[in-house]
């Protein structure tokens, strides 16, 4: 599936992650930009975790921006999933 709308999920609070999705043209692939307060400790883990959710949801073309303040794995997965669903127009959200 390909995101149709700009969407976001999450907050900038400590232990949360803000996920922003921007639609991109078909065939342009995945671009995942991550910044995190625990980048030095969990960079790999964040990449793997975010890509796993995109894999499961079969999102191949997307620009995803994640601003992490030390969220735990379930939080990261939930925020990514929600942002993607909002960008697909299948879940109502704050945007």
């Amino acid at each position: 599936m390909t995101p149709k709308f700009k969407a976001q999920a999450g907050t900038f609070e400590s232990s949360d992650i803000m996920v922003l999705i921007e639609p991109v043209a078909e065939g342009s692939g995945r671009q995942v930009d991550i910044s995190s307060t625990v980048m030095l400790q969990f960079e790999e883990d964040l990449k793997v975790c975010i890509n796993q959710v995109l894999d499961v949801m079969e999102i191949e073309n997307v620009h995803l921006i994640a601003k992490d303040k030390g969220a735990l794995t379930p939080t990261i997965k939930a925020r990514v999933e929600t942002a993607v669903k909002r960008s697909l127009g299948i879940q109502e959200g704050t945007l």
Binding site: S15, V38, Q41, F42, E43, E44, G70, L72, T73
Partner: protein, 519 residues
Amino acid sequence: MKNALGVEIPEYIEGIGELKPYQGVWKSIIEDEVPCTNISRTLKAKKAHTSKFCSSLEEAIKKCKPFDGMTVTCHHHLRGGDGVLMQTIEILDKMGIKDITLASSSLTSAHDGLVPYVESGMITKIFSSGIRGRLGEIISMGKLKHPAIIHSHGGRVRDFLTGRIKPDLSVLAASAADEEGNSTGSHGPSAFGSMGYADIDARYSKNVIIVTDNMVEYPCVPSTVRQHFVDYVVKVDSIGDASKIASGTTRITSSPMDLRIARIAATVIEHSGLFKNGMSFQVGAGGASLAVAKFLREDMKRKSIQGSFMIGGVTSYGVDMLEEGLFKAIFDVQSFDAAVSTSVLNNPKHVEITCDQYANPNNCGAMTNKLDVVVLGALEVDVDFNVNVITGSSGEIRGASGGHSDTASGANLSVIVCPSFRGRLPIIMDRVHTIVTPGESVDVVVTERGVCVNPAKPNLAAALKKAGLKVLDIKDLKKEVDSMTGIPAEKKLGDKIVALVEYRDGTIIDVIKNVTNLE
């Protein structure tokens, strides 16, 4: 050579000298008599009715005949608002003085301005109980010529008396002073309370300059630092940023996590066997730590307990408890807010003490040795109960040893309060990155998930279980936390020793290596 905690300690470091490995909390303190024949202070007579007053700090410093390689000290009673240390270094730099050893009682966010002087090699050695901010980062990157020495508050006094630190020039800020140098922090527009750390510099330094923004008519009473220790007196427009020096009252945290940890910690104290009339108590000023005082206050009222004394860094919250009669006295080495200064000045039961009396491990009357209960924070704790309060998650220097190891060693019950993880970083490690306080002197670790008791205290564990507290094996708690956070990537460290952590007895308890992925 290895110390008692298995840390490899060099026998000698160029510019620092010979190092002794840490052997245990009390071993060398009890066994060794410490000679005090190497004190910096000399006696310098002054003719009758001559003046010590200098019209500028520059003039006063010149009169002290500064030289390359000298040791300069300041105090940190002005905390994040200090303007005096930076002025001193700037003046010395203008005079072309270099190779300076800086031995401030602590370094705060007000001292990031030291960075260029460290990078230029003007400052080559640092002794301090704490190093933070950008200064901590560049030292962690290896930019200070010699390793920094992190001592405890009590250890600093010991270092002055043994000659490990030999101050040549001490520039000491006061909120009120007279022409002879009688001075205080308890009154005046920039009042900051106790001068407990500064009093040590005044007594043992070779040259003492008092700097104040508030000259008062002779005699300045009450005063802490006395005139027979003071060489010169300077009036300046400002000793710093008053709003950051001391303001208002300290509030109790509203963080649910900190409040939960504090509630559990207060319950630990209540069932420790020490919660009775005559209990003495110290608590830090940080979030969960100070919040313990809130719950303890309620518990003491409920059970009609009257304590003996409180010591340490004092907040207005402690002052409230004194005024309510929950404790008979406060012994104050450092005050944290404006309301405390008023109490230091007006309440005879609020006693200003020197850092020597507070925590010097080698004297015969340190207050920390009379402590029943202390509550302390932690950046990291390990499964052997060792505590790190100096290095952060990347291994960078960003904290303070302060009175942590002093109070932990003296108290009958030392309670560490910390969340089990902070922003995904697990707090309980197999081994803390840097040991400041050895596990031998830590009794209980309190987290939001439960309480871990040092296996050396089985009776305490039994009492806490009986009281209905969730007592966990610290290794099990570590596993539980790791399963939620994941395991952080290894720190990127080099081989260079950038700092030594001196235990309160003068031995080296740990070394800090350079961090290679800082920018």
